[in-house]
C-alpha cells in the first residue's frame, strides 16, 4: 500500500512538470490562413470579367441557374431562371465573403437566390415558412481554373460557378436567357411524345422525356425519363432536377441516371435539334413519337382512367358495326322514360371507366330523360392478358339497367360481354388529339374511340 502511494506520488511529480511545446503544423497562424482563403475566394469571384454561370439545386424543390457578376464593392448582379422577370432583369444586391466554419460567401441582401430561401411562399412558391430549402450562405469548397464551388451552409446543396465567356454574357444582356428558356419550353410543348433511343446490346430502349419547368415545389424544374424495358411490359423511370442554361439545360445533382447511364445535359445540336448528352459525352437526339411510348393497356385504369365516347352518330375510328349498333341502341332507348316530367331517353356520350388494380370497368350511358339528367351504369369485372387482350364479365346491375338492358344488348350482351378487346392509341385525324380506340378481335368492324 505504501509502495503504491509512493509510486503514485512519483508518477504525479513526473507528469506534473511535463512540458509539451506547441509545434505548428502550418507555417501560418489560423487567422492568416483564413485571411488567405478569404482573399482567394474574393479575388476569384471578382476576377471573372464576364461573370459566372452558376447552378444550384434546391433541397426540396427543383434546380436553378444564375449568371452572377461580383465587383470589389460587395455588389453582385444576377440573372436567374426563376421567372421571366429574373431572366431579363440584371438585379443588383450585396454579397460578402467572411470567415465562418470555413470561408463563407453570403448573399446578404435580397436577391433571386433569396427568393428560393424566402419562407414566404407567396413570393415564388415553396413550402410556407420554409421555402425551397435553399441557402444564402455558401461555404467555399474548391476552385479550379475556370470554376469555383461552394456548399450551401444549411441545406448542403452544391453551388457551382463556372466562368462565363464574353459571348455568353452578351447573350444574357440581349435578353437571350429568356429566349433560350422559352425555346426549350416550346420544344417540349410542341414536340409530341419526345423520347431518346438508348441502344443496349441488341435491343433499343425508348425513354420518354417529361419536362416540368414550373416552380412547383414537388415537381417543378425537374426532368423525368420513363419507358418500357426490353421485356416490353416493365416500365422504368428516373427524375432529375434541372436548370436552364443559355444553350440548353443542365441536369443537376449528379445528373439523371436511367438504366445505368448518367445523363448530364441537354444541348441544341442545331437550330431545331435537341440532344441529350451522358457523362461520357455520348449524344442522344430527342425524337418525337406520334403516340405515347407506353402501350395504352398498361396505362388504362392506371393513369388514364376514362375513355369518353363522344355523343355522335359517327366518328373517326368507329367501325361500321359499332355505328349501326349504336344507332339501334339509341333508337331503342327512346321507348323509355323514367323521370317526371316524362320525356324519352336520349343516348348521348358513353364513358368507360377502368380500374386496373381492382380490374373493374364501369360503362355509363348518359341518357337524359327529356330535360332531366339520367344515366345508366353497367359494372363489369375484367381480365387482361400480358399482351393486353381484355375480356369483360357483367356484374350485378340495377333495376333500370336490367329493364333497359334489352335495348342495349346490341352493344353490350352481343359484343362487350362476349367478344375480346384490345386497346390502343388513336390520333384524331383533324384535331390531332390523342384518343383511345377499343377493337373487338372477333368482329373487326366493331371498333370505337373515345377521349382519354
Amino acid at each position: 500500500m505504501k509502495r503504491l502511494l509512493i509510486f503514485i506520488a512519483l508518477l504525479s511529480i513526473l507528469v506534473s512538470c511535463k512540458k509539451t511545446s506547441y509545434v505548428a503544423k502550418f507555417d501560418k497562424t489560423p487567422q492568416e490562413r483564413a485571411a488567405d482563403q478569404i482573399s482567394l475566394v474574393s479575388t476569384t469571384l471578382t476576377s471573372a470579367p464576364n461573370g459566372w454561370i452558376a447552378t444550384l439545386p434546391t433541397r426540396a424543390g427543383g434546380g436553378y441557374a444564375f449568371l452572377l457578376t461580383f465587383d470589389n464593392e460587395q455588389n453582385v448582379s444576377m440573372y436567374g431562371d426563376l421567372n421571366d422577370a429574373s431572366a431579363t432583369t440584371f438585379a443588383k444586391s450585396y454579397y460578402r465573403v467572411k470567415q465562418d466554419i470555413g470561408t463563407d460567401l453570403v448573399f446578404d441582401s435580397y436577391s433571386y437566390l433569396a427568393m428560393l430561401n424566402d419562407p414566404n411562399s407567396a413570393v415564388l412558391g415553396g413550402q410556407d415558412k420554409i421555402g425551397y430549402q435553399s441557402d444564402i450562405d455558401f461555404t467555399y469548397d474548391r476552385v479550379t481554373t475556370d470554376s469555383i464551388i461552394f456548399i450551401g451552409k444549411k441545406y448542403r446543396q452544391p453551388f457551382k460557378l463556372v466562368k462565363a465567356t464574353a459571348a455568353q454574357r452578351a447573350l444574357y444582356e440581349a435578353n437571350g436567357y429568356k429566349t433560350a428558356i422559352d425555346k426549350f419550353k416550346t420544344f417540349f410543348s410542341t414536340t409530341k411524345n419526345p423520347y431518346i433511343e438508348i441502344v443496349s446490346g441488341s435491343t433499343t430502349l425508348k425513354a420518354g422525356i417529361t419536362v416540368n419547368s414550373t416552380n412547383s415545389l414537388a415537381a417543378g424544374k425537374r426532368i423525368s425519363f420513363t419507358g418500357l424495358l426490353a421485356d416490353g411490359k416493365t416500365t422504368s423511370g428516373a427524375t432529375s432536377k434541372f436548370a436552364f442554361k443559355i444553350d440548353g439545360v443542365d441536369l443537376l445533382g449528379g445528373g439523371l441516371i436511367y438504366q445505368g447511364i448518367t445523363f448530364v445535359k441537354f444541348l441544341w445540336k442545331d437550330a431545331t435539334t435537341l440532344a441529350v448528352y451522358d457523362s461520357t459525352g455520348k449524344e442522344y437526339i430527342v425524337k418525337s413519337n406520334p403516340t405515347p411510348l407506353t402501350p395504352l393497356h398498361l396505362l388504362l385504369g392506371a393513369g388514364y382512367n376514362t375513355v369518353s365516347v363522344p355523343n355522335a352518330t359517327t366518328y373517326p375510328g368507329w367501325g361500321s358495326d359499332f355505328v349501326t349498333r349504336r344507332a339501334t341502341a339509341a333508337q331503342g332507348l327512346t321507348r323509355w322514360s323514367i323521370t317526371n316530367p316524362r320525356g324519352a331517353l336520349r343516348l348521348q356520350g358513353i364513358v368507360f371507366t377502368f380500374n386496373n388494380v381492382t380490374k373493374r370497368l364501369a360503362i355509363v350511358f348518359d341518357t337524359p330523360d327529356g330535360t332531366n339528367a339520367f344515366s345508366l351504369t353497367y359494372n363489369y369485372t375484367y381480365t387482361k392478358t400480358e399482351a393486353g387482350v381484355y375480356k369483360f364479365t357483367l356484374g350485378t346491375i340495377g333495376g333500370n339497367e336490367s329493364a333497359i338492358g334489352g335495348d342495349l344488348a346490341v352493344l353490350l350482351a352481343d359484343r362487350i360481354q362476349v367478344d375480346t378487346f384490345t386497346a390502343d392509341y388513336f390520333t384524331h385525324p383533324t384535331t390531332g388529339v390523342l384518343m383511345a380506340q377499343l377493337k373487338s378481335i372477333e368482329h373487326p368492324d366493331f371498333t370505337f374511340t373515345g377521349a382519354l
Binding site: 512538470c17 487567422q31 453570403v106 446578404d108 424566402d118 419562407p119 444564402i136
Partner: protein
C-alpha cells in the same frame, strides 16, 4: 510551534502553486483577425449614419447575418429599398416621440443601440408562428418582415405593426434595465396561462388583457400593455377596458396605472408619450382608432357640462353656450317642479342612432329625460348629421320626464338637428393636457369652427 507548521504548510503550498507555472506569451494580434464588418457608403448608409449613428449611436444592421436570428430559423434577407422607409417609420413614430417627451439624454442612453432588420418573418419550422420582432440584452431590437413594406396608405398596417413590435420590444428593453414593479404580476395573478395560443382573444379580453399574447406571462403582459396603450391610444384602451368583464376592466385600468408610474420613475410622462405617438398614428398613418369619428360608431356617452373644470379652462363656444344657457334657464323655470338643471349628454348607441339626455334634479332626487336622435356618420370625413329620432323605450325618462322638459329643451334639439347643420367630429378641446387627450371629444359646425361643443367620453359595453 503550531504556527511554524502552519507557516511551513503554507510555504509548501505556495511553492507547489508556483513551481510548475509556465508563462508563455500568446501573442494574439486582434488586428490580424478577419473581422466581419461589411461597409458600404451609399446614400442609404449616409442617411442611416446621420439619422441614427451620429445622434443616437444606433447601428442599423441590414446586411444579412444568420447569427442574429438563430441558426435554425428560416429567415431571408432584406430588400434594400425597404430599409430607409422602414427606418423613417422608426424615427417618426418611435424615436421622435421619446425624444420629445423623455428628452435627448434618456433617448440617447436607453434607445437600443443595434437595430437588426430581416426581410421575412422568422420561422422555426412549418408549424411555428412567425416571429415579428425580438429584444435582446437591453440593447438590440430585431425587426423581421421588412420585405412587406408598402407605401401609405396601403402600407398602414405594416407601419402600425412595426410600431406594435417596437414599442413592445422596447418595453422589454426597459424591463431588462429597470425591473417590472413587483405589484404588477399580482393584478392578473391566476389568469396567466401558457401556451397563450390556446386562449382566445375574447377570453383574454374579458379577463383584462390587451391581447391573447399578453395572457401568457406577466412580462409579455407588461410589454403588450405598453405597446397597445401607445399604438392604439387612450380611447381604444378605455373602450377595451369598458368592454371587458367588470373584473377585467379593473385589471386593465390598474395595469395602465402601473405602467404610468413605472414611466414616471424613469422620468417620463407616459400620457404625453402616448399623445405624441397618437398624433403620429392619426396624422401620418390615418389610423382609425386614433381618430374621433370612428368612436361615434361605438357605444359611448359624451357628457357636456359647461360648468365643468375642462370647460372653464378651455372655454366653450358662444353659439353653443347661448343654447345651453337657454335650456338651463328654461328647465330651471318650468313652473311647479323646482328643477335644477345639471348637464346634458349625447349617448351614442349604434352607428346610426344616438339620444340627447338631460340631467336635472328635483331637490336631492336626480332625473333624466331622453330624446331619440338619428345619426348619419361618415367616418372618413368625420361628418355627422343628426335628425329627430324615436323614443328608445317606454320608461319615465323617455315618456313622462321627456314630456315635462320637452319644450324647455327644444332649442337644444333644434340646434342639433337643424337641417342645414353638419357637424365635424374631432378630439376637443385643442390643447387639452396629455392626461385628458382622447378622453374628451366634440363636434363643430362644418364651415363654422367657432361653433362647437365637447364633452368627456365614457365607453359602454
Amino acid at each position: 510551534m503550531k504556527n511554524i507548521y502552519k507557516l511551513l504548510t503554507l510555504t509548501a503550498l505556495i511553492a507547489m502553486l508556483i513551481s510548475c507555472r509556465k508563462t508563455e506569451e500568446l501573442n494574439v494580434d486582434y488586428s490580424a483577425f478577419n473581422a466581419d464588418n461589411p461597409t458600404t457608403n451609399t446614400p442609404l448608409d449616409q442617411w442611416l449614419k446621420s439619422s441614427f449613428l451620429d445622434p443616437y449611436n444606433i447601428e442599423v444592421v441590414y446586411r444579412y447575418n444568420r447569427y442574429y436570428h438563430g441558426n435554425s430559423a428560416n429567415v431571408t434577407p432584406t430588400k434594400l429599398e425597404n430599409i430607409q422607409p422602414t427606418m423613417q417609420i422608426v424615427l417618426d413614430g418611435f424615436i421622435n416621440p421619446y425624444l420629445k417627451v423623455a428628452g435627448p439624454t434618456f433617448t440617447k442612453k436607453y434607445m437600443p443601440k443595434e437595430w437588426v432588420l430581416f426581410g421575412s418573418y422568422s420561422y422555426d419550422d412549418a408549424n411555428a408562428d412567425g416571429v415579428a420582432g425580438t429584444a435582446a440584452a437591453g440593447r438590440r431590437i430585431t425587426l423581421y418582415g421588412v420585405n412587406d413594406y408598402q407605401p401609405l396608405p396601403s402600407g398602414q398596417f405594416y407601419a402600425w405593426d412595426r410600431h406594435r413590435i417596437m414599442h413592445h420590444e422596447f418595453g422589454h428593453i426597459l424591463n431588462q434595465i429597470i425591473p417590472i414593479p413587483t405589484d404588477f404580476e399580482a393584478i392578473s395573478k391566476g389568469f396567466y396561462k401558457q401556451p397563450y395560443r390556446e386562449t382566445s382573444t375574447e377570453t383574454a379580453h374579458a379577463n383584462g388583457f390587451v391581447t391573447a399574447y399578453a395572457s401568457g406571462v406577466s412580462t409579455e403582459d407588461y410589454a403588450e400593455t405598453i405597446s397597445w396603450s401607445l399604438i392604439n391610444g387612450q380611447a381604444w384602451y378605455d373602450y377595451w377596458a369598458a368592454t371587458a368583464s367588470d373584473e377585467g376592466k379593473v385589471r386593465l385600468n390598474l395595469k395602465q396605472q402601473n405602467i404610468i408610474n413605472y414611466y414616471k420613475n424613469l422620468g417620463i410622462d407616459f400620457k404625453a408619450l402616448q399623445k405624441e405617438v397618437q398624433l403620429y398614428m392619426r396624422n401620418t398613418l390615418d389610423l382609425r382608432e386614433s381618430k374621433f369619428p370612428y368612436w361615434l360608431s361605438q357605444k359611448m356617452t359624451m357628457t357636456i357640462d359647461n360648468s365643468s373644470l375642462v370647460s372653464v379652462n378651455y372655454g366653450v363656444s358662444s353659439a353653443f353656450s347661448s343654447v345651453y344657457n337657454t335650456i338651463r334657464t328654461n328647465v330651471n323655470a318650468i313652473p311647479g317642479y323646482g328643477f335644477t338643471f345639471n348637464n346634458i349628454r349625447i349617448n351614442f348607441t349604434t352607428p346610426t342612432t344616438a339620444n340627447l339626455e338631460i340631467s336635472f334634479n328635483q331637490g336631492s332626487g336626480s332625473y333624466l329625460a331622453n330624446f331619440g336622435l338619428t345619426m348619419t356618420l361618415n367616418q372618413t370625413t368625420g361628418e355627422v348629421k343628426f335628425g329627430n329620432g324615436v323614443a328608445g323605450g317606454t320608461t319615465a325618462p323617455w315618456v313622462g320626464n321627456a314630456n315635462i322638459v320637452k319644450s324647455a329643451i327644444q332649442p337644444m334639439l333644434d340646434y342639433l338637428t337643424a337641417s342645414t347643420t353638419i357637424f365635424i367630429a374631432d378630439w376637443m378641446p385643442t390643447g387639452i393636457t396629455a392626461d385628458n387627450f382622447m378622453k374628451y371629444g366634440g363636434l363643430y359646425v362644418k364651415g363654422a369652427p367657432t361653433n362647437y361643443f365637447y364633452g368627456s367620453l365614457v365607453f359602454n359595453r
